[in-house]
């Protein structure tokens, strides 16, 4: 969506209308999952399917980060044997997936949310408690 508008217009128009918080879903325990329930404030902004797809992908990425499997056990055992000193020089699997998540959120913002005057905040900036969606009043950004 190529829009030609000056910076001044953006500055005046990007006023925050509201913030929506998607809370954690604890039905499967303490693993990091977010609720896929569609918040009512976003009803006239974004498609419900689109939103649920975003949250589901996020959930699957976090599940991948916290997955218990051969590679995570190997990493854990190796760390234990080296008295956890490898954490000082090696990036953990979780951190790698977090970078992937940050990229995913940036892409989603670029392609889907920003054109609709919404902004997703990476949950890691909120302590993995909520997905914060900022809703902007954007009369001239249009849809």
């Amino acid at each position: 969506m190529a829009e030609n508008h000056s910076l001044q217009d953006l500055r005046q128009q990007a006023a925050i209308s509201a913030k929506v918080f998607i809370q954690r879903d604890y039905t499967n325990g303490t693993v990091c999952q977010f609720q896929t329930k569609f918040p009512s404030e976003l009803e006239n902004r974004i498609d419900k399917q689109q939103f649920e797809e975003t949250v589901r992908t996020l959930n699957s990425l976090y599940a991948e980060a916290e997955k218990l499997g051969g590679s995570s056990y190997l990493e854990g055992c190796l760390a234990c044997l080296t008295a956890y000193t490898i954490f000082l020089c090696m990036e953990t699997h979780y951190e790698k997936v977090l970078k992937k998540i940050a990229r995913f959120i940036r892409e989603q913002n670029d392609k889907i949310y920003a054109p609709r005057g919404l902004l997703l905040t990476d949950p890691i900036e909120r302590g993995l408690r909520v997905v914060e969606i900022t809703i902007f009043e954007d009369r001239s950004l249009g849809r």
Binding site: M1, A2, E3, N4, H5, S6, L7, L10, R11, A14, A15, I16, S17, A18, K19, F21, R24, Y26, T27, N28, G29, T30, A65, E66, K67, L68, S72, Y73, E75, G76, C77, A79, C80, A83, Y84, T85, F87, T92, H93, Y94, E95, L98, R106, N109, D110, A114, L119, T121, I124, E125, R126, G127, L128, R129, V130, E132, T134, F136, E137, L141
Partner: protein
Amino acid sequence: MNNCEYQQIDPQALSGRTPTPALPPPPAVIRGEERLKARKKWEVFPGKNRFYCGGRIIVSRQSGVLPLTIGLILVTTGLFFVFDCPFLVKHLTVFIPAIGGGLFVFVVISLLHTSFTDPGILPRATPDEAADIERQIDNSGSSSYRPPPRTKEVMINQQVVKLKYCFTCKMFRPPRTSHCSLCDNCVERFDHHCPWVGNCVGKRNYRFFYTFIVSLSFLTAFIFGCVATHLALRAQGGRGLMFALQESPARYPFTTEFWSILGLSGFHTYLVASNLTTNEDIKGSWSGKSGSEDTSNPYSYNSIITNCCSILCGPMPPSLIDRQGFVPVETATQTSSTEMEVPMLAAKETNVCAQGTIDLLETASRSPCPQTGKPQAVVTSCPDANPAVTINPALISDPAAMPSLTCGGRHLSHTTSPPDEPRQPHQHHNRHHKTRTKKSHSSKRAALHVSSLSPPTSPGPGLTGTQHQGRGSFIALP
């Protein structure tokens, strides 16, 4: 901005004085403010923690007896190397000091990891989040005179779990999270606050703690065995056991550490195998004591191997408190935050429209300092935007059990020193914590438990191991 300072420097006095020009402005430009350096988030962290090495090392402000722990380990191992090793190397094998040295290094590294790692602290809710939660609570509660309940029930693996609201952190605590009043933080998968390591033991450092106590058991067992062998060999070769005892210096009291450490390792092995925390075990959350219906641990994988592997070898979760990040610049300014600060980008932005939109939106949405608790201009048209949570005194009777007890009643003598920020609600919370301490049901159980433990000022349970029943750590129950 820096012009005044340069003009004031007297060129004739340059030889005697070293002028200190102001630091260049940080990445974000500050309008009309005198601040010269953006502060890192660890510098404004609201909990009772201390940071070293630029925020990389985190310890509790109440470091407990960590120096004593390190001292005991060093002294015991030192005496072993000085008095037992030469004899044993001569009479047995040269591997003895090698094994001892390896174990010692492992113990010290695990201890330092436990003490200096973020245990899984949850950052406090931002003002917008807190306002949103307040709104939800008000909407869900009845309109009667009774205040709405500050608990939320969720279904976890077909088990009903109650989530409590934390007044200090202004959020509903995730499952297995507890607020440690010594550190003034909510910690995920909170086990206990251990004064011996001077830090909380939680999700991120439990494996280090477990490794520490297990390796310490091995070390003390090894030293115990070597000392016994040494005595036996001397007694055989010399004039009997009594003479051998007299010859060696009086370091035998230290060997009683072995029994309490062994007991503690055994207890934590049981906890690991059943995927429980010390906190849950003491409160009897899943053993059915607190309720009449069948309760089973919903977090357990029902397999000892899986439980052990998930806790000790599972993926290492990241630190959520972002110590190294910079505090957003909007916290410094009191001006309206709806205007963006993009002075330098104007020339490039028209070409990179989408990216510019994102940047501007992000700058606008970044909620200012979450610790101030003051309503920020960011949320201008948000209804009920009053992040300063009003405390209803009637809520004191809420059985949200947030007491914290340590062996010597340390919590009750805990200072009410005001936090860094002049937040009235925060100080109010601390007082509420203490009044709830006296009323809470679990405090009575903990008191019964605590009374059997020795006070913190004594030389430590290691030396009076028999009283301890294997629980060498003081338990703080937030």
